[in-house]
């Protein structure tokens, strides 16, 4: 009797036999709707109240002038037109892109190297765990740790630099070093994690492909460029999409170390949005900035998927 209430549709990934011949009593189109509503209710509240409505409201606010006191006033595209001529905005975009380029460039190459090492040489879970450690520690903690180690006067890194006879470097305090330094700190934090993502992709490459290559006498370099990289490409693209999107939203490290300075040298886009909203109370403008960030991220993801054909595997 109990199977009667089941819809005859085949369950996802399951067997079809349940209920196929049983008469459907409570209507074909409804199924477990009542039950589903109960189960989904808490998540639905969270989704609607904290994801869906804020998304719509964020878009609406971007067309208004709103300084938290009083009500938002509709001003059409004015925020967007002023952003277009806002030098601080263009500066923040340039700074962010510079950060992303350095961060992702080094991180991906190092992580790929680490992943190959994990796959071919160091197979222990312990080593993988140790390399993951920085990623599990809060951004804020990592930022403070490196803020200390890279201190101009007392930091161990500058101490080592001065032993070699080179001049000390104001890592966080100089305009040309601030962004590369923050990018490097986050390379340190994320390289093990990224390596593990790539490692998972490496493990999915069937062993026999390598065996055939080695029987054919292919050199390691040829195996790498001819087999590993093409077969890894879908995973690499996904990893790139995820890490680039994350990288564009860098905030914690900047907030704790330089707060956007010196001058505007490390005012990344999210820092700029934060300052517009919470120090200048310009929520309309800040919302417009985050709409732009949102659009950029969507474009970046789209271009990466399209251009690098991330959704197609070469494994056929």
């Amino acid at each position: 009797m109990t199977t009667i209430t089941k819809l005859p549709d085949p369950p996802a990934g399951g067997t079809k036999k349940a209920g196929t011949s049983a008469p459907v009593r409570n209507g074909r189109g409804i199924g477990d709707l009542k039950m589903a509503l109960v189960f989904i209710f808490p998540a639905m509240i969270g989704f609607v109240v904290f994801f869906l409505i804020p998304t719509i409201r964020g878009i609406y606010l971007s067309f208004t002038e709103y300084s938290i006191l009083g009500d938002p006033t509709w001003i059409g595209l004015e925020n967007y037109t002023s952003i277009f001529t806002d030098e601080l905005f263009w500066n923040s975009m340039a700074v962010t892109v510079q950060y992303v380029a350095i961060n992702i460039g080094f991180q991906t190459v190092i992580a790929l190297g680490l992943a190959l090492l994990m796959h071919r040489v160091a197979k222990s879970t312990f080593i993988r765990g140790a390399l993951l450690l920085p990623f599990l520690v809060a951004n804020v903690i990592v930022a403070l740790l490196w803020f200390w180690m890279l201190d101009y006067q007392l930091g161990i890194v500058n101490e080592i630099i001065s032993w070699t006879g080179l001049p000390r470097i104001a890592f966080f305090g100089s305009e040309q070093w601030a962004i590369p330094t923050i990018a490097a700190v986050n390379v340190w934090r994320h390289m093990g994690y990224t390596a593990l993502l790539i490692f998972a992709g490496l493990q999915a490459i069937p062993q026999h492909v390598y065996e055939v290559a080695s029987l054919d006498g292919a050199s390691p370099a040829r195996t790498f460029w001819g087999i590993t990289i093409p077969l890894l490409r879908p995973v690499l693209v996904l990893v790139l999409v995820v890490t680039v999107i994350g990288s564009f939203q860098v905030f914690d490290t900047v907030a704790v170390t330089t707060a956007g300075g010196p001058i505007n040298a490390s005012r990344v886009i999210q820092m700029y949005i934060y300052q517009k909203a919470f120090t200048e109370s310009d929520f309309g403008y800040a919302s417009a900035l985050s709409v732009i960030l949102f659009v950029i991220l969507a474009l970046v993801a789209f271009i990466q998927m399209k251009f690098l054909k991330g959704n197609e595997s070469d494994l056929d």
Partner: protein, 322 residues
């Protein structure tokens, strides 16, 4: 790669088996005196490990130093003028005078409060998020209802929205509700679900065998009982993994509590550490104290990792890519 697999069988295997094995795989290389490529690769592994671990040791070394002595011993690998003072200072076991004498700011840092707040927030968020997401994932995988795939796609789509985008309107809402500087304000946006958590659990629920569930239904069990007595226990491993990831993520969260939890009584550790840094007296920051504080703040995560690290390590890749 083929060279490594037979070595597992070496121990205690009769030689006949061993020979058979090697005749199947003629590619096995004879042992060379030194394989330079392999040695180089191991050297790189060791360098990577040192680069990863050494900063943490430096954190410990600084925390165990006396702050005044750091300046004179910047390059000394051992703690400069060994002292527990920094830990005492952070945990409020030192009087302001003592603290200042050791190079602290003398200002009270209610570290215990921050610790308590971090524990409260992370525990509640983890419990709520995992449980409610599991319920939703069940509805999205094991129940049949019209529009299911569309609603799920909508949930997934919000994964694309950058957190800052929803953070501004969410801040305004929390403010309008009068929940600024309350636990509720910090917790609520993450309490009910994240698209990732639902997605993660749905994968497991979908792969669960239908037979067990059907047997329970013949038994007359209701959906609720099936969920609690069959689905949840069977998914204990992924639930634990998700709980671990959620806890670590919440523990480390900075941006949202920075927006809505500035006041001391609800301030979490990450925000507290930022404040602690800016509190340091000009010119001579309390590095020892700061490193002691960061070390204690990182400790719960490090302990969790030591206990369940394997789970986390093995879950990455699955959750991150697929």
């Amino acid at each position: 790669m083929t060279t490594t697999s037979p070595s597992r069988q070496d121990a205690g295997q009769p030689s006949a088996r061993h020979n058979a094995d090697s005749s199947i795989r003629p590619v096995i290389k004879p042992r060379k005196p030194i394989n330079w490529g392999r040695a180089g690769a191991w050297a790189l592994v060791v360098i990577a490990l040192i680069v990863t671990i050494a900063p943490f040791l430096w954190m410990l070394r600084t925390a165990l130093s006396s702050n005044h002595s750091l300046a004179g011993n910047a390059g000394n690998l051992l703690p400069a003028d060994f002292s527990w003072g920094a830990f005492k200072r952070v945990l409020g076991l030192q009087s302001p005078e003592e603290a200042i004498a050791e190079g602290g700011s003398g200002a009270a840092i209610n570290f215990w409060w921050y610790l308590r707040n971090s524990i409260i927030v992370s525990t509640l968020v983890t419990a709520g998020q995992v449980f409610f997401s599991a319920m939703a994932a069940y509805a999205f995988s094991r129940l049949r209802w019209p529009g299911r795939e569309k609603v799920f796609a909508l949930f997934l789509a919000t994964m694309m929205v950058p957190p800052i985008f929803t953070a501004l309107p969410n801040f305004l809402m929390i403010k309008n509700l009068g929940l600024l500087n309350t636990y509720a304000g910090i917790i609520l946006p993450f309490l009910f679900m994240t698209p990732f958590a639902i997605f993660f659990l749905r994968q497991f629920f979908m792969s669960m065998s239908r037979e067990v569930e059907e047997a329970a239904m013949l038994d007359g069990a209701k959906k609720f009982r099936i969920f609690f007595q069959i689905v949840l226990p069977n998914a204990a491993a992924p639930l634990a993994t998700l709980a671990l990831l959620t806890f670590i993520g919440t523990w480390n969260e900075y941006f949202w509590p920075l927006l809505v939890g500035q006041e001391e009584n609800v301030r979490v550790l990450t925000v507290g550490l930022g404040v602690f840094k800016s509190q340091s007296p000009q010119g001579a920051p309390d590095w020892s104290g700061l490193m002691a504080a960061t070390l204690i703040a990182a400790l719960p995560v490090l302990l969790l990792f030591i206990a369940f690290g394997k789970k986390v390590v093995n879950s990455i890749g699955f959750s991150g890519v697929k």
